[in-house]
Symmetry: C2
Subunit: 287 residues, 2 copies
Amino acid sequence: MDEERADRATAFVPGHVTGFFSPCAADDPARAGSRGAGVTLSDGVRVTVRADDGPESRLTLDGDPLSMPPVETVLDALDADGVRVVAESDLPLGTGFGVSGAMALGTALAANHALGRGRSENDLVALAHRAEVVAGTGLGDVVAQARGGVPIRLDPGEPSHGRLDGVPATRRIEYVTFGDLSTVDVLAGDTDPLVDAGDRALSRLVDCPTLPELLAASRWFARETGLPTDRVRGVVDDVVDAGGEASMAMLGETVFALGTGLSDAGVDAAACRTCEAGAHLVAPDRP
Amino acid sequence: MDEERADRATAFVPGHVTGFFSPCAADDPARAGSRGAGVTLSDGVRVTVRADDGPESRLTLDGDPLSMPPVETVLDALDADGVRVVAESDLPLGTGFGVSGAMALGTALAANHALGRGRSENDLVALAHRAEVVAGTGLGDVVAQARGGVPIRLDPGEPSHGRLDGVPATRRIEYVTFGDLSTVDVLAGDTDPLVDAGDRALSRLVDCPTLPELLAASRWFARETGLPTDRVRGVVDDVVDAGGEASMAMLGETVFALGTGLSDAGVDAAACRTCEAGAHLVAPDRP
């Protein structure tokens, strides 16, 4: 099979947990987004796009039909009407893992390849970033997921405007989810306290770009902003009391921890790793 | 074992084959480098740095002691005297695979971790990039190897100055090597024709960022600059005659091809893939 000519293509996009962030509004969605930092995850989303005969595009996530405005915006921008988008996720939607960003970015990469649209990676990341920002479902996941590793978002926006660095680390990551929080609702509230706390947490991490410092700055941000629920606060405290490093995923009722932090605190947690690679096409001969 | 506290660390850096390039001189090595494009390879270099008792650092490549100025510059910058650097490479040195860049970048990542120096990824990439440029052993490999995938170098220099994009593709890559060419010698000659041809090849690829176009632009660049030896030219012609896509690795007496291009032309070639991930630390629990 010629990998360059396919009427279907699959992309993998890592999950992304934000530990702290500072929302940056702008009239131009290409320049809007957030500063902040987090970890990308080897657990993520696989998106397959297939040219189809239907009049309208159809999207499923883990077998269930659904409608996602950022995905539809990406398909429109790539003139990809009437395709089938099949997404399979290791991670739950709406709980702080960047699943909606992953769906938008994975759709962009896979549709570009399946339909031979000839866009560059920066173009595709920009499309997905703008679609997420306009929908209000995320501010920094897409650029972080495109990069992989442990991304530090120094300046907001799509690749031609934003600026990224990274914490040089690879580590086992554990996580546990109790439920969802609405990103749209939090961002619709007063964001000034988030901006202030997020910028201060970022200064800390830039001075000392290590994983333990990322988690410590994230805990400080969570306390300052009061975003954690009682249940999240309790689990984070348990991990720290057991000598581990954990914090809340922004934004979900989710706790993530380094190494065996959650297990050591007696919490039944899922485990994966930081993801070495950013979002990428998956070769058809390598399932 | 706590992955955050180790007196040894290992990094993997993908190989990188440049298809075309346009050298960009600058007094400041942070801003010098090259525009161009190529492919990163899942074959690469593994570098382990270990704190040691000796008075001087010791470096081996595939078991043989050697001296490499860029590696020594990186160790000096990280105040890493008296360490042991053990490198193992899937690829030969000096033949256009970016092995010297990989050694410098892998040393930076591994030494930073082993000695707890607390530098960010951009800082470490910048160190390795400047060390390569000053030594004259490479101009664009390090930033490409830090990124992974199929990097397009739009603007030269370390991460705070350079600008990268990518061809969104994943593909089997074949390669064959007949010998080395001296990067130092080529760059010491008249580079004006390289700049002109490299910039024109880059325009082509930016207009159509696909792998077949990358290979076609690379062949055009190779013809314009006259860099291929007769043997390289002959093998590239054989692959194209057999319906494949191939070009010369800049700079080595090496041919690389998409898919099964070299095998299909009857050439006994090594095979790997484009590398999804940029340079990264390797977890101690994952060999």
